[in-house]
């Protein structure tokens, strides 16, 4: 829903009735991920996509039907090889799409998204007569919706929120075994760059292209300029502690220390380790890092806490230029969030095909 939040907000504000279609199940390979959203009005306005054009026309018809009869529905679409070929999609997949009229609960979810608050939408997928969004839970623990007080549902929603990943689960709701899709609408991922260095310039640009909110902080006003960081969402002229304190860092946030200077590094690392940031990385050689770790241990941080610090920073891809270093850092931030190793995908190709 995040990807169509702006359109949804403006259409609802204009008093239009809007249907929301969400990908709630995938078998095989599908063109769009779980949680992909399309919104449509009876008048024919459409935003977002559930299949990159493959089944959009059929979904639009269901959206209009849902707006007319006021009922939610789940439709399964097979993306046949033939169809996939004609529209240029990866073949062989099957997707389940929940189509429902937007109501108060959707508006409440949208409100959280626009306020950059993490929220989970619990969307019942089966049985068919119970389909539709039945609860939401936000990062402050606020619950809303007809099934918000079902303890099992709240528990699942909470773990989806913590894990940051959408998933489906069987939950007993009102004496019925329901299949529920938990859609996680996290806060936009962000990068706080401490140190307006030349790697920082490259990182700010690439991170923005990847959809991160980018904040650059450096007390040296001659370095942290709009000219050097044209795409940054915010530029702060302050010390690391102040920048971290004002940034409200959650697990979706990455803190990257690029200064090469203990004067900035040390207070920055201490503040980052005391925050909830999901990723902390610090530039520097192995030796610099050993000194750093020794110092942080002396400050009272445990080895478990220090394991949060990625240093030397970035995936080990042999980066040489500032841009390549920035790429290595972003690769590590994504890999860390998804719990992946960052090794080559093709290395796992079947032996029979990999053989020369």
């Amino acid at each position: 829903m995040r990807e169509v939040a702006a359109e949804l907000a403006s259409w609802l504000a204009a008093g239009e009735r809007v249907a929301i279609a969400t990908v709630v199940g995938i078998r095989g390979s599908a063109p769009r991920p779980l949680g992909a959203t399309l919104i449509a009005t009876e008048a024919g306005r459409i935003a977002g996509s559930v299949s990159n054009g493959c089944v959009e026309a059929a979904v639009f018809e269901e959206a209009v039907a849902a707006l007319r009869d006021g009922r939610a529905r789940v439709i399964r679409y097979g993306i046949s090889d033939e169809l996939a070929f004609t529209v240029g999609l990866s073949c062989g997949g099957e997707i389940d799409v929940l189509v429902e009229p937007a109501g108060a609960l959707q508006a409440a979810g949208l409100e959280r998204v626009l306020a950059d608050k993490a929220v989970v939408m619990a969307r019942a997928v089966a049985p068919a007569d119970r389909a539709g969004t039945i609860a939401l839970l936000d990062e402050d623990g606020v619950r809303q919706g007809p099934s918000a007080d079902v303890p099992a549902l709240a528990g699942e929603a909470w773990s989806a929120l913590r894990g940051g990943m959408p998933y489906a689960s069987a939950v007993r709701v009102s004496d019925v075994d329901a299949s529920v899709f938990f859609e996680v609408l996290g806060r936009a991922p962000s990068v706080l760059i401490l140190g307006a260095t030349h790697v920082g310039v490259a990182l700010a640009r690439l991170a923005r292209d990847l959809g991160f909110r980018v904040t650059v902080a450096d007390p040296r006003t001659s370095l942290a300029t709009r000219e050097r960081f044209p795409s940054a969402d915010a530029i702060l002229h302050g010390w690391p502690e102040a920048a971290i304190a004002s940034a409200r860092l959650g697990t979706e946030a990455a803190v990257v220390l690029l200064s090469h200077d203990p004067k900035f590094d040390r207070p920055g690392l201490v503040a980052a380790l005391r925050s909830d940031a999901g990723y902390i990385g610090a530039i520097g050689s192995r030796r610099t890092n050993e000194e750093r770790m020794g110092w942080l241990r002396a400050e009272g941080f445990s080895d478990d806490e220090l394991r949060r610090v990625h240093a030397p920073i970035g995936l080990d891809i042999g980066a040489r230029t500032a841009e390549e270093t920035a790429l290595a850092i972003l690769g590590e931030i994504v890999a860390e969030r998804r719990g992946r190793p960052g090794t080559s995908l093709s290395a796992r190709a079947p032996a029979a095909l990999a053989r020369p």
Partner: protein, 319 residues
């Protein structure tokens, strides 16, 4: 004077800019230290092209042949180097290559030689969202991005350096990477075409299953297995990428990691000047003389003249 008549910093920078704009590799040679007597002073600089031509002044015939040879080696291996030329014995220093200056002028020169290679090419096939993200991020990474897609326009791919109709039209070299992100349209042809080039990295954006089917189809159609083994699939590093931009990031990270290598010039063939015993690169404009069915190469006109005066005596070491 330079053998090619160009001296001065303005000519040096103009030539460097001209080669760079044509994506031609070249090497710069800069005198960083001199012990008199030498004819070149610190700051003197020259450009060596991949065919071994030298433009500028970094010392006369005592130094130039060695500089040309080392510049060609630098273009071949891609590494900068610091060389020291002296007529007397030199005590070895780490990171410095020592060469004899055989023309007895008595001085010493230290020359920094740096290969200047064009940005690596990234060829993107397709116009799917992943292809678009590869173009944007590849350009931000400093790659020379070429979109190979029939019917594509510059307007459609504003970040691309060039838009061509096919992979072959991009002329990828060994340092190039080709990523096929067509989402199933004509990707068999694109893979076949990409594998026929010298590109050091060829990858297909597809699920393991679909890529496997495609590879088997190509093998069945007669594409050799060892050619198909070059194809990377699924493309990229395992970072759990979900969005198109993240997929592009994972692929670019893999390209950086594998860093396809390729020589910007062939390492030069060399010969020993029979008069001064200097090793000279055999380039198109190298000084040469034929004698009794053999070709001899010379560092400079002086040695050549000495040889031609009495080749037999010269070869007997009595010149």
């Amino acid at each position: 004077m330079s053998p090619n008549g160009e001296t001065g910093d303005a000519a040096f920078f103009a030539r460097a800019a001209a080669h760079a704009s044509r994506r031609e590799p070249f090497a710069t040679a800069t005198v960083v230290r001199a012990e008199r007597p030498t004819s070149a002073k610190p700051g003197a600089k020259a450009i060596v092209t991949r065919d071994g031509a030298l433009y500028g002044w970094i010392g006369g015939s005592c130094a130039a042949p060695t500089v040309v040879r080392e510049a060609l080696v630098a273009l071949a291996d891609g590494e900068p180097r610091l060389i020291s030329l002296a007529s007397g014995p030199q005590s070895p220093r780490e990171g410095v290559r020592h060469f004899a200056m055989t023309c007895h002028s008595g001085g010493m020169l230290e020359i920094y030689i740096e290969p200047v290679l064009p940005a690596e090419m990234l060829v993107v096939v397709g116009r799917a969202p992943v292809a678009r993200a590869l173009v944007t991020l590849g350009a931000a990474l400093g790659r020379h991005v070429v979109v190979a897609e029939p019917g594509a326009t510059r307007e459609e791919f504003a970040d691309a350096a060039a838009v061509v109709a096919s992979v072959a039209d991009a002329h990828p070299d060994e340092r190039a990477a080709i990523v096929i992100a067509t989402r199933g349209e004509y990707d068999e042809d694109a893979v076949r075409e990409a594998l026929a080039t010298k590109a050091g990295y060829v990858a297909l954006v597809a699920s393991r299953t679909r890529a496997g089917v495609l590879v088997e189809a190509l093998a069945g159609a007669g594409v050799p297995r060892d050619a198909l083994a070059r194809l990377k699939y699924p493309a990229g590093l395992d970072i759990g990428a979900r969005s198109e931009e993240e997929i592009a990031l994972s692929i670019l990270a893999e390209i950086v990691q594998l860093r396809p290598r390729g020589a910007a010039a062939d390492a030069p063939e060399t010969a020993v000047d029979p008069i001064c015993e200097m090793t000279v690169a055999i380039t198109a404009d190298a000084l040469r003389a034929d004698h009794e069915g053999r070709t001899y190469y010379f560092c400079a006109a002086g040695c050549l003249r000495t040889f031609l005066r009495d080749p037999a005596a010269a070869l007997a070491g009595q010149a």
